[in-house]
Symmetry: C3
Subunit: 148 residues, 3 copies
């Protein structure tokens, strides 16, 4: 349990700017890892990713078939329809309030285990940007690496 | 990457008691930050908030328009209706089992990045207590601050 | 705020193999805690649990009535139906794409506060494996303990 004497606590925090993405679910893992070279120096730790917006989310899911990402968009857009008739917050456009609901359902953060210099994800797990607006623009992430 | 010699690991854990709130989505960020003066001493770190209940949740969403919070309540109460007819767990009242479903959908915890003494949230992000019961009573949070 | 001189940073990471569970919501807290004897040595900290799969999730909810777990399965299977007609990703069976949607809705990770050697959960909170496939097989968790 006792860490070796050479143990060094690592805290790194970086802002990552994501280019605009169309509405839908998008793989961003390659981009995120490229922006965080410090990951390679962490033996054991955690990576926290936080999106600073209320109409986009982060998720972890299948990294292979594009149909999975299309089906996710289909399900969420049917479950939270723009034309539901009961929305009051409509000033920012018909896609805005559904985007807030999806943001609450999926959440703004991911915490990933780090092992031997990389996220210890399953074979099929990829990091998603879930863009809930038609024209959400660039999105800002705060990445916090903490480890040993 | 190496922290300065004066680096001090901070671990603070506090219980925060929230007064009873009516069913719905409520901004609690001011109250939570006031209960955690130690936040100001953290240069980089994470704040973990955990609600110790199964029929209330924590979320992060729009901190301006009250209509957003009303529309969230409307959507969740339609998506998980009390009169669905398929509930078996009804002993604790018609709002109880829907509250558990919403609790699983939204989740009991938030992890927020800390930078220069405060949560590094987006301009529009506010911390929500999501109260899923009609009379949920006071709610208990465990706040854990960890940083440098 | 300053930790005592004897303060020792603890980082422990373990893989936990869960035996196959049928589709539904299952309490796994006893099994998880038994696999992590190091929890007892943590005065204050965090436990991060991560499931390395895209069709199963982790959640925290009621640990008493089995009806709550059955009602959760009923609601999620109605909200994300296999026979929706709009799925494109159907090659891996009718329960596969709904499993991915539920995985995104519930999420793959839990972060729990640790206090005095155990998770600081509420009286009624229990850790769930949410198995979204009919025959999901054994599931792999990465548990990361960090504390003081």
């Amino acid at each position: 349990m006792k860490p070796p004497l050479s143990s060094i606590a690592v805290w790194v925090q970086r802002e990552i700017r994501l280019d605009p993405h169309p509405r839908g679910f998008h793989l961003i893992g390659t981009e995120v890892e490229a922006a965080l070279p410090e990951l390679r120096e962490v033996r054991v730790g955690l990576l926290h990713l936080h999106i600073q917006h209320t109409s986009a989310s982060l998720a972890l899911n299948e990294n292979a078939s594009p149909d999975v990402r299309r089906d996710l968009e289909t399900w969420f857009s049917r479950a939270v329809p723009e034309d539901a008739g009961h929305w009051r917050h409509t000033l920012e456009g018909p896609d805005d309030m559904p985007a807030h609901v999806k943001g609450v359902l999926i959440g703004p953060s991911l915490t990933l285990p780090l092992a031997d210099g990389r996220p210890a994800l399953g074979t099929w797990q990829g990091i998603y940007l879930c863009e809930h607006r038609e024209s959400g623009g660039a999105r800002n992430l705060i990445a916090t690496i903490h480890g040993d």
